[in-house]
Subunit: 239 residues, 2 copies
Protein backbone atom coordinates (compact mmCIF):
# COMPACT_ATOMS: atom_id res chain seq x y z
CA UNK A 1 0.00 0.00 0.00
CA UNK A 2 2.33 2.68 -1.21
CA UNK A 3 0.87 5.53 -3.19
CA UNK A 4 -2.70 6.56 -3.46
CA UNK A 5 -2.69 7.41 -7.11
CA UNK A 6 -6.35 7.93 -7.83
CA UNK A 7 -6.04 6.01 -11.05
CA UNK A 8 -4.13 3.11 -9.61
CA UNK A 9 -7.22 1.44 -8.29
CA UNK A 10 -10.67 0.74 -9.44
CA UNK A 11 -13.81 0.80 -7.36
CA UNK A 12 -15.30 -2.53 -6.43
CA UNK A 13 -18.64 -3.49 -5.05
CA UNK A 14 -18.25 -5.38 -1.76
CA UNK A 15 -20.81 -7.88 -0.56
CA UNK A 16 -21.16 -10.50 2.12
CA UNK A 17 -22.40 -14.04 1.48
CA UNK A 18 -23.65 -16.24 4.28
CA UNK A 19 -23.56 -19.98 4.64
CA UNK A 20 -26.06 -20.45 7.45
CA UNK A 21 -26.11 -23.99 8.83
CA UNK A 22 -28.47 -25.73 11.17
CA UNK A 23 -29.42 -29.29 12.06
CA UNK A 24 -32.94 -30.40 11.24
CA UNK A 25 -34.21 -33.95 11.52
CA UNK A 26 -30.73 -35.34 11.92
CA UNK A 27 -29.34 -33.74 8.78
CA UNK A 28 -27.26 -30.69 8.07
CA UNK A 29 -29.32 -27.96 6.43
CA UNK A 30 -28.33 -24.69 4.84
CA UNK A 31 -30.36 -21.51 4.36
CA UNK A 32 -30.93 -20.62 0.70
CA UNK A 33 -32.87 -17.90 -1.08
CA UNK A 34 -34.42 -18.10 -4.51
CA UNK A 35 -33.26 -15.33 -6.82
CA UNK A 36 -36.02 -13.23 -8.33
CA UNK A 37 -34.05 -11.38 -10.97
CA UNK A 38 -31.31 -11.78 -13.49
CA UNK A 39 -28.73 -12.98 -13.49
CA UNK A 40 -29.47 -16.46 -12.24
CA UNK A 41 -33.20 -15.68 -11.86
CA UNK A 42 -34.98 -18.65 -10.33
CA UNK A 43 -31.76 -20.20 -9.11
CA UNK A 44 -30.98 -20.73 -5.46
CA UNK A 45 -28.25 -18.70 -3.82
CA UNK A 46 -26.68 -18.02 -0.48
CA UNK A 47 -28.23 -15.09 1.36
CA UNK A 48 -26.17 -11.94 1.35
CA UNK A 49 -25.99 -8.37 0.24
CA UNK A 50 -23.99 -5.22 -0.15
CA UNK A 51 -22.08 -3.48 2.58
CA UNK A 52 -23.65 -0.23 3.66
CA UNK A 53 -21.36 2.80 3.74
CA UNK A 54 -20.63 2.64 7.46
CA UNK A 55 -20.66 -1.09 7.94
CA UNK A 56 -17.90 -3.61 8.40
CA UNK A 57 -18.34 -6.97 6.72
CA UNK A 58 -19.13 -8.51 10.11
CA UNK A 59 -21.85 -5.95 10.78
CA UNK A 60 -23.36 -6.42 7.35
CA UNK A 61 -23.31 -10.18 7.77
CA UNK A 62 -25.11 -9.97 11.08
CA UNK A 63 -27.70 -7.61 9.62
CA UNK A 64 -28.32 -9.93 6.68
CA UNK A 65 -28.57 -12.87 9.04
CA UNK A 66 -31.24 -11.11 11.03
CA UNK A 67 -33.16 -10.15 7.91
CA UNK A 68 -33.08 -13.60 6.36
CA UNK A 69 -33.82 -15.64 9.44
CA UNK A 70 -36.34 -13.24 10.93
CA UNK A 71 -34.70 -13.64 14.29
CA UNK A 72 -35.12 -10.67 16.57
CA UNK A 73 -31.82 -11.16 18.33
CA UNK A 74 -28.82 -12.41 16.43
CA UNK A 75 -26.26 -11.12 18.88
CA UNK A 76 -24.30 -13.96 20.37
CA UNK A 77 -24.86 -16.21 17.38
CA UNK A 78 -21.68 -17.69 16.04
CA UNK A 79 -20.61 -15.88 12.89
CA UNK A 80 -17.29 -16.72 11.37
CA UNK A 81 -15.48 -15.15 8.48
CA UNK A 82 -14.44 -17.79 5.98
CA UNK A 83 -12.55 -16.13 3.18
CA UNK A 84 -13.00 -13.57 0.45
CA UNK A 85 -13.84 -14.41 -3.14
CA UNK A 86 -12.52 -11.90 -5.60
CA UNK A 87 -12.05 -13.58 -8.97
CA UNK A 88 -12.86 -11.21 -11.82
CA UNK A 89 -15.99 -12.38 -13.57
CA UNK A 90 -17.60 -14.10 -10.60
CA UNK A 91 -20.47 -11.67 -11.15
CA UNK A 92 -21.27 -11.24 -14.85
CA UNK A 93 -22.11 -7.55 -14.66
CA UNK A 94 -19.56 -5.88 -12.47
CA UNK A 95 -16.62 -6.36 -10.25
CA UNK A 96 -17.92 -7.77 -6.98
CA UNK A 97 -15.69 -8.85 -4.10
CA UNK A 98 -17.53 -10.98 -1.59
CA UNK A 99 -16.62 -11.74 2.00
CA UNK A 100 -18.05 -15.12 2.94
CA UNK A 101 -19.26 -16.02 6.43
CA UNK A 102 -20.46 -19.17 8.08
CA UNK A 103 -23.17 -19.04 10.73
CA UNK A 104 -24.28 -21.88 12.97
CA UNK A 105 -27.80 -21.87 14.36
CA UNK A 106 -29.76 -24.14 16.65
CA UNK A 107 -32.92 -25.67 15.28
CA UNK A 108 -35.38 -22.87 14.52
CA UNK A 109 -39.14 -22.89 14.19
CA UNK A 110 -39.95 -23.27 10.51
CA UNK A 111 -41.39 -19.86 9.60
CA UNK A 112 -38.21 -17.85 9.34
CA UNK A 113 -38.51 -15.96 6.06
CA UNK A 114 -38.70 -12.50 7.52
CA UNK A 115 -37.97 -9.21 5.92
CA UNK A 116 -37.22 -9.78 2.34
CA UNK A 117 -39.15 -10.38 -0.84
CA UNK A 118 -37.28 -13.53 -1.80
CA UNK A 119 -38.38 -16.42 0.35
CA UNK A 120 -35.66 -18.16 2.29
CA UNK A 121 -35.72 -21.91 2.84
CA UNK A 122 -33.84 -24.55 4.78
CA UNK A 123 -32.44 -27.05 2.31
CA UNK A 124 -30.64 -30.28 3.21
CA UNK A 125 -26.96 -29.76 2.50
CA UNK A 126 -26.78 -32.84 0.30
CA UNK A 127 -29.46 -31.56 -2.05
CA UNK A 128 -28.11 -28.00 -2.26
CA UNK A 129 -26.36 -27.65 -5.58
CA UNK A 130 -26.32 -25.71 -8.80
CA UNK A 131 -26.39 -22.42 -6.95
CA UNK A 132 -26.01 -18.98 -8.49
CA UNK A 133 -22.63 -17.30 -8.97
CA UNK A 134 -19.78 -19.22 -7.33
CA UNK A 135 -21.94 -20.13 -4.37
CA UNK A 136 -21.47 -23.86 -4.88
CA UNK A 137 -17.83 -23.39 -4.11
CA UNK A 138 -18.44 -21.03 -1.20
CA UNK A 139 -20.91 -23.48 0.31
CA UNK A 140 -18.53 -26.39 -0.09
CA UNK A 141 -15.69 -24.41 1.50
CA UNK A 142 -17.97 -23.45 4.37
CA UNK A 143 -19.04 -27.02 4.96
CA UNK A 144 -15.45 -28.23 5.06
CA UNK A 145 -14.51 -25.51 7.49
CA UNK A 146 -17.37 -26.30 9.84
CA UNK A 147 -16.46 -29.98 9.90
CA UNK A 148 -12.82 -29.21 10.60
CA UNK A 149 -13.55 -26.68 13.29
CA UNK A 150 -15.61 -29.14 15.29
CA UNK A 151 -12.37 -31.03 15.93
CA UNK A 152 -10.37 -28.35 17.63
CA UNK A 153 -12.88 -25.71 18.75
CA UNK A 154 -16.01 -25.59 20.88
CA UNK A 155 -18.08 -24.70 17.84
CA UNK A 156 -20.46 -27.63 18.19
CA UNK A 157 -22.41 -25.92 20.94
CA UNK A 158 -23.45 -23.25 18.43
CA UNK A 159 -25.76 -25.85 16.87
CA UNK A 160 -27.44 -26.44 20.22
CA UNK A 161 -29.97 -24.37 22.14
CA UNK A 162 -28.82 -22.49 25.21
CA UNK A 163 -29.26 -25.59 27.38
CA UNK A 164 -28.61 -28.98 25.90
CA UNK A 165 -27.84 -32.56 26.82
CA UNK A 166 -24.63 -34.36 26.02
CA UNK A 167 -26.61 -36.66 23.77
CA UNK A 168 -27.70 -33.69 21.70
CA UNK A 169 -24.15 -32.45 21.50
CA UNK A 170 -22.98 -35.88 20.39
CA UNK A 171 -25.59 -35.93 17.65
CA UNK A 172 -24.14 -32.65 16.34
CA UNK A 173 -20.79 -34.32 15.82
CA UNK A 174 -22.30 -37.46 14.37
CA UNK A 175 -24.43 -35.52 11.93
CA UNK A 176 -21.74 -33.14 10.71
CA UNK A 177 -19.05 -35.80 10.50
CA UNK A 178 -21.28 -38.64 9.34
CA UNK A 179 -19.77 -40.97 11.92
CA UNK A 180 -20.95 -42.82 15.00
CA UNK A 181 -19.23 -42.04 18.28
CA UNK A 182 -19.00 -44.11 21.40
CA UNK A 183 -21.27 -42.47 23.98
CA UNK A 184 -19.28 -43.16 27.17
CA UNK A 185 -16.04 -42.03 25.58
CA UNK A 186 -17.60 -38.94 24.06
CA UNK A 187 -19.01 -37.94 27.41
CA UNK A 188 -15.68 -38.32 29.12
CA UNK A 189 -13.79 -36.39 26.48
CA UNK A 190 -16.23 -33.49 26.57
CA UNK A 191 -16.35 -33.29 30.36
CA UNK A 192 -12.56 -33.54 30.52
CA UNK A 193 -12.15 -30.49 28.24
CA UNK A 194 -12.00 -27.53 30.61
CA UNK A 195 -14.49 -24.81 29.73
CA UNK A 196 -16.19 -26.71 26.92
CA UNK A 197 -19.50 -27.24 28.73
CA UNK A 198 -20.67 -26.48 32.23
CA UNK A 199 -23.54 -28.21 34.02
CA UNK A 200 -26.82 -26.50 34.76
CA UNK A 201 -27.24 -27.48 38.40
CA UNK A 202 -30.17 -29.77 39.06
CA UNK A 203 -31.66 -29.46 35.60
CA UNK A 204 -32.64 -32.45 33.53
CA UNK A 205 -34.78 -33.08 30.51
CA UNK A 206 -36.11 -36.00 28.50
CA UNK A 207 -34.81 -36.15 24.97
CA UNK A 208 -36.55 -38.84 22.97
CA UNK A 209 -39.73 -38.86 25.04
CA UNK A 210 -38.37 -41.99 26.69
CA UNK A 211 -35.42 -43.00 28.76
CA UNK A 212 -33.65 -41.46 31.69
CA UNK A 213 -33.80 -37.67 31.81
CA UNK A 214 -30.45 -36.22 30.79
CA UNK A 215 -28.55 -33.58 32.70
CA UNK A 216 -28.44 -30.19 31.02
CA UNK A 217 -25.33 -28.27 30.12
CA UNK A 218 -24.60 -24.91 28.60
CA UNK A 219 -21.64 -23.74 26.54
CA UNK A 220 -18.60 -22.91 28.63
CA UNK A 221 -16.17 -20.05 28.24
CA UNK A 222 -13.57 -21.97 26.23
CA UNK A 223 -13.32 -21.51 22.48
CA UNK A 224 -10.58 -23.96 21.57
CA UNK A 225 -10.23 -27.61 22.51
CA UNK A 226 -7.01 -28.98 24.00
CA UNK A 227 -6.62 -31.75 23.13
CA UNK A 228 -8.78 -31.80 20.02
CA UNK A 229 -11.73 -34.13 19.63
CA UNK A 230 -10.28 -36.02 16.72
CA UNK A 231 -12.39 -37.38 13.94
CA UNK A 232 -10.61 -40.74 13.81
CA UNK A 233 -11.33 -43.10 10.93
CA UNK A 234 -12.65 -45.84 13.20
CA UNK A 235 -14.12 -44.51 16.39
CA UNK A 236 -17.25 -45.87 17.91
CA UNK A 237 -19.29 -48.85 16.92
CA UNK A 238 -22.24 -49.23 14.60
CA UNK A 239 -25.51 -48.35 16.30
Amino acid sequence: MHGYDKHAYEPFAVTVDLAVFTLRAGALHVLLVERGQEPYAGRWALPGGFLLPDESAETAARRELAEETGLADVTGLHLEQLRTYSEPGRDPRMRVVSVAFAALLPHLPEPHGGGDAAEARWVPYDTAGNLAFDHDRILADARTRVGDKLEYTCLATAFCPAEFTLGELQRVYETVWGTVLDRPNFRRKVLASPGFVEPVPGAARLTGGRGKPAALYRAGPATTLHPPLLRTPREGRPA
Copy 2:
Protein backbone atom coordinates in the same frame (compact mmCIF):
# COMPACT_ATOMS: atom_id res chain seq x y z
CA MET B 1 -27.57 -10.43 -2.79
CA HIS B 2 -30.98 -9.56 -4.02
CA GLY B 3 -31.37 -6.41 -6.05
CA TYR B 4 -28.73 -4.47 -7.81
CA ASP B 5 -30.09 -1.04 -7.06
CA LYS B 6 -27.28 1.19 -8.24
CA HIS B 7 -27.63 3.31 -5.15
CA ALA B 8 -27.73 0.47 -2.70
CA TYR B 9 -24.00 0.07 -2.61
CA GLU B 10 -21.01 2.27 -2.40
CA PRO B 11 -17.70 1.76 -4.13
CA PHE B 12 -14.80 0.57 -2.04
CA ALA B 13 -11.12 0.42 -2.68
CA VAL B 14 -9.82 -3.11 -2.31
CA THR B 15 -6.26 -3.87 -1.32
CA VAL B 16 -4.16 -6.82 -0.25
CA ASP B 17 -1.84 -6.78 2.76
CA LEU B 18 0.90 -9.35 3.17
CA ALA B 19 2.43 -10.80 6.30
CA VAL B 20 5.59 -12.36 4.86
CA PHE B 21 7.42 -14.55 7.35
CA THR B 22 10.82 -16.14 7.28
CA LEU B 23 13.32 -17.55 9.74
CA ARG B 24 16.65 -15.74 10.10
CA ALA B 25 19.25 -16.51 12.72
CA GLY B 26 16.87 -18.64 14.71
CA ALA B 27 14.15 -16.02 14.99
CA LEU B 28 10.90 -15.38 13.19
CA HIS B 29 11.17 -12.33 10.93
CA VAL B 30 8.55 -10.41 9.02
CA LEU B 31 8.93 -8.25 5.92
CA LEU B 32 8.05 -4.59 6.51
CA VAL B 33 8.17 -1.47 4.36
CA GLU B 34 8.67 2.07 5.54
CA ARG B 35 5.93 4.41 4.41
CA GLY B 36 7.09 7.44 2.48
CA GLN B 37 3.90 9.47 2.48
CA GLU B 38 0.97 10.42 4.61
CA PRO B 39 -0.82 9.03 6.37
CA TYR B 40 1.58 7.26 8.68
CA ALA B 41 4.62 8.65 6.84
CA GLY B 42 7.80 7.19 8.29
CA ARG B 43 5.94 4.36 10.00
CA TRP B 44 6.47 0.73 9.15
CA ALA B 45 3.72 -1.19 7.45
CA LEU B 46 2.97 -4.53 5.88
CA PRO B 47 3.65 -4.64 2.16
CA GLY B 48 0.58 -4.57 -0.02
CA GLY B 49 -1.29 -2.65 -2.63
CA PHE B 50 -4.42 -2.19 -4.65
CA LEU B 51 -6.05 -4.82 -6.77
CA LEU B 52 -5.70 -4.18 -10.47
CA PRO B 53 -8.91 -4.28 -12.51
CA ASP B 54 -8.47 -7.83 -13.75
CA GLU B 55 -6.81 -9.35 -10.70
CA SER B 56 -8.09 -11.59 -7.97
CA ALA B 57 -6.81 -10.92 -4.47
CA GLU B 58 -4.58 -13.98 -4.74
CA THR B 59 -3.05 -12.74 -7.99
CA ALA B 60 -2.48 -9.30 -6.56
CA ALA B 61 -0.89 -10.77 -3.45
CA ARG B 62 1.51 -12.86 -5.50
CA ARG B 63 2.42 -9.87 -7.63
CA GLU B 64 3.10 -7.74 -4.56
CA LEU B 65 5.15 -10.54 -3.05
CA ALA B 66 7.34 -10.69 -6.14
CA GLU B 67 7.77 -6.92 -6.18
CA GLU B 68 8.67 -6.63 -2.53
CA THR B 69 10.97 -9.61 -2.22
CA GLY B 70 12.62 -9.16 -5.60
CA LEU B 71 12.25 -12.86 -6.21
CA ALA B 72 12.04 -13.80 -9.85
CA ASP B 73 9.83 -16.80 -9.27
CA VAL B 74 7.20 -16.73 -6.58
CA THR B 75 5.11 -19.52 -8.03
CA GLY B 76 4.97 -22.41 -5.65
CA LEU B 77 5.53 -20.24 -2.61
CA HIS B 78 2.98 -20.76 0.08
CA LEU B 79 0.45 -17.96 0.10
CA GLU B 80 -2.55 -18.21 2.34
CA GLN B 81 -5.54 -15.97 2.67
CA LEU B 82 -6.07 -15.00 6.29
CA ARG B 83 -9.15 -12.83 6.51
CA THR B 84 -10.52 -9.54 5.32
CA TYR B 85 -10.43 -6.32 7.30
CA SER B 86 -13.26 -3.97 6.50
CA GLU B 87 -13.90 -1.74 9.50
CA PRO B 88 -14.92 1.76 8.39
CA GLY B 89 -12.17 4.18 9.31
CA ARG B 90 -9.28 1.74 9.13
CA ASP B 91 -7.89 4.09 6.48
CA PRO B 92 -8.38 7.74 7.42
CA ARG B 93 -9.05 8.97 3.90
CA MET B 94 -11.37 6.55 2.22
CA ARG B 95 -13.15 3.29 2.52
CA VAL B 96 -10.56 0.56 2.02
CA VAL B 97 -11.29 -3.12 2.37
CA SER B 98 -8.16 -5.19 2.69
CA VAL B 99 -7.68 -8.90 2.11
CA ALA B 100 -4.80 -10.13 4.26
CA PHE B 101 -2.45 -12.94 3.27
CA ALA B 102 0.33 -14.79 4.99
CA ALA B 103 3.37 -15.98 3.05
CA LEU B 104 6.11 -18.29 4.30
CA LEU B 105 9.56 -18.07 2.77
CA PRO B 106 12.81 -19.93 3.29
CA HIS B 107 15.81 -17.90 4.35
CA LEU B 108 16.64 -15.46 1.55
CA PRO B 109 19.85 -13.68 0.68
CA GLU B 110 19.69 -10.29 2.30
CA PRO B 111 19.31 -7.91 -0.65
CA HIS B 112 15.64 -8.38 -1.42
CA GLY B 113 14.30 -4.85 -1.80
CA GLY B 114 13.39 -5.10 -5.42
CA GLY B 115 11.05 -3.04 -7.46
CA ASP B 116 9.64 -0.39 -5.28
CA ALA B 117 10.68 3.00 -3.98
CA ALA B 118 10.06 2.16 -0.33
CA GLU B 119 12.78 -0.08 0.99
CA ALA B 120 11.65 -3.36 2.45
CA ARG B 121 13.36 -4.89 5.47
CA TRP B 122 13.30 -8.09 7.45
CA VAL B 123 12.39 -7.24 11.01
CA PRO B 124 12.36 -9.68 13.94
CA TYR B 125 8.75 -10.37 14.77
CA ASP B 126 9.23 -9.46 18.41
CA THR B 127 10.41 -5.96 17.55
CA ALA B 128 7.75 -5.30 14.90
CA GLY B 129 5.17 -3.02 16.45
CA ASN B 130 3.48 0.32 16.12
CA LEU B 131 2.72 -0.31 12.48
CA ALA B 132 0.59 1.88 10.23
CA PHE B 133 -3.17 1.42 9.88
CA ASP B 134 -4.44 -1.71 11.63
CA HIS B 135 -1.39 -3.66 10.61
CA ASP B 136 -0.44 -4.51 14.19
CA ARG B 137 -3.60 -6.51 14.44
CA ILE B 138 -3.22 -8.10 11.01
CA LEU B 139 0.33 -9.13 11.84
CA ALA B 140 -0.69 -10.59 15.18
CA ASP B 141 -3.53 -12.52 13.55
CA ALA B 142 -1.15 -13.82 10.91
CA ARG B 143 1.39 -14.93 13.49
CA THR B 144 -1.24 -16.82 15.45
CA ARG B 145 -2.48 -18.52 12.34
CA VAL B 146 0.98 -19.63 11.27
CA GLY B 147 1.70 -21.12 14.70
CA ASP B 148 -1.61 -22.97 14.72
CA LYS B 149 -1.23 -24.29 11.20
CA LEU B 150 2.09 -25.91 11.97
CA GLU B 151 0.20 -28.29 14.21
CA TYR B 152 -2.14 -29.83 11.71
CA THR B 153 -0.69 -29.04 8.29
CA CYS B 154 2.59 -29.58 6.46
CA LEU B 155 3.20 -25.84 6.38
CA ALA B 156 6.55 -26.02 8.18
CA THR B 157 8.33 -27.14 5.02
CA ALA B 158 7.48 -23.77 3.45
CA PHE B 159 10.09 -22.21 5.74
CA CYS B 160 12.73 -24.62 4.44
CA PRO B 161 14.66 -24.66 1.16
CA ALA B 162 13.76 -27.29 -1.43
CA GLU B 163 15.98 -29.86 0.27
CA PHE B 164 16.36 -29.80 4.02
CA THR B 165 17.37 -31.93 6.96
CA LEU B 166 15.07 -33.07 9.72
CA GLY B 167 17.09 -30.96 12.12
CA GLU B 168 16.30 -27.86 10.08
CA LEU B 169 12.64 -28.79 10.03
CA GLN B 170 12.66 -29.28 13.78
CA ARG B 171 14.22 -25.85 14.25
CA VAL B 172 11.28 -24.37 12.33
CA TYR B 173 8.86 -25.75 14.89
CA GLU B 174 11.01 -24.79 17.83
CA THR B 175 11.43 -21.23 16.56
CA VAL B 176 7.81 -20.59 15.70
CA TRP B 177 6.46 -22.26 18.83
CA GLY B 178 9.23 -21.16 21.18
CA THR B 179 9.54 -24.67 22.57
CA VAL B 180 12.17 -27.39 22.59
CA LEU B 181 11.27 -30.71 21.03
CA ASP B 182 12.77 -34.12 21.61
CA ARG B 183 14.78 -34.96 18.50
CA PRO B 184 14.21 -38.73 18.35
CA ASN B 185 10.48 -38.36 18.88
CA PHE B 186 10.20 -35.52 16.40
CA ARG B 187 11.97 -37.57 13.76
CA ARG B 188 9.66 -40.52 14.29
CA LYS B 189 6.52 -38.42 14.19
CA VAL B 190 7.52 -36.69 10.97
CA LEU B 191 8.61 -39.88 9.21
CA ALA B 192 5.43 -41.62 10.36
CA SER B 193 3.24 -38.95 8.75
CA PRO B 194 2.59 -40.22 5.24
CA GLY B 195 3.43 -37.67 2.57
CA PHE B 196 4.88 -35.08 4.92
CA VAL B 197 8.49 -35.44 3.76
CA GLU B 198 10.18 -37.81 1.34
CA PRO B 199 13.87 -38.70 1.35
CA VAL B 200 16.27 -37.52 -1.33
CA PRO B 201 18.04 -40.80 -2.09
CA GLY B 202 21.67 -40.84 -1.17
CA ALA B 203 21.91 -37.15 -0.39
CA ALA B 204 23.36 -35.83 2.84
CA ARG B 205 24.64 -32.53 4.08
CA LEU B 206 26.40 -31.09 7.11
CA THR B 207 24.38 -28.59 9.04
CA GLY B 208 26.42 -27.01 11.79
CA GLY B 209 29.80 -27.50 10.13
CA ARG B 210 30.33 -30.38 12.50
CA GLY B 211 28.70 -33.66 13.29
CA LYS B 212 27.34 -36.43 11.20
CA PRO B 213 25.96 -35.36 7.83
CA ALA B 214 22.17 -35.44 7.85
CA ALA B 215 20.00 -37.09 5.25
CA LEU B 216 18.10 -34.68 3.01
CA TYR B 217 14.38 -34.60 2.52
CA ARG B 218 11.97 -32.60 0.42
CA ALA B 219 8.36 -31.69 1.05
CA GLY B 220 5.96 -34.50 0.28
CA PRO B 221 2.58 -34.33 -1.41
CA ALA B 222 0.51 -34.17 1.77
CA THR B 223 -0.95 -30.89 2.97
CA THR B 224 -2.61 -31.92 6.22
CA LEU B 225 -1.20 -33.91 9.11
CA HIS B 226 -3.06 -36.90 10.55
CA PRO B 227 -2.53 -37.11 13.40
CA PRO B 228 -1.48 -33.53 14.16
CA LEU B 229 1.91 -32.64 15.58
CA LEU B 230 0.58 -31.25 18.80
CA ARG B 231 2.17 -28.35 20.56
CA THR B 232 1.86 -29.88 24.03
CA PRO B 233 2.55 -27.66 27.04
CA ARG B 234 5.45 -29.81 28.23
CA GLU B 235 7.13 -31.63 25.41
CA GLY B 236 10.85 -32.10 25.17
CA ARG B 237 13.53 -31.34 27.63
CA PRO B 238 15.70 -28.28 28.15
CA ALA B 239 18.67 -28.21 25.78
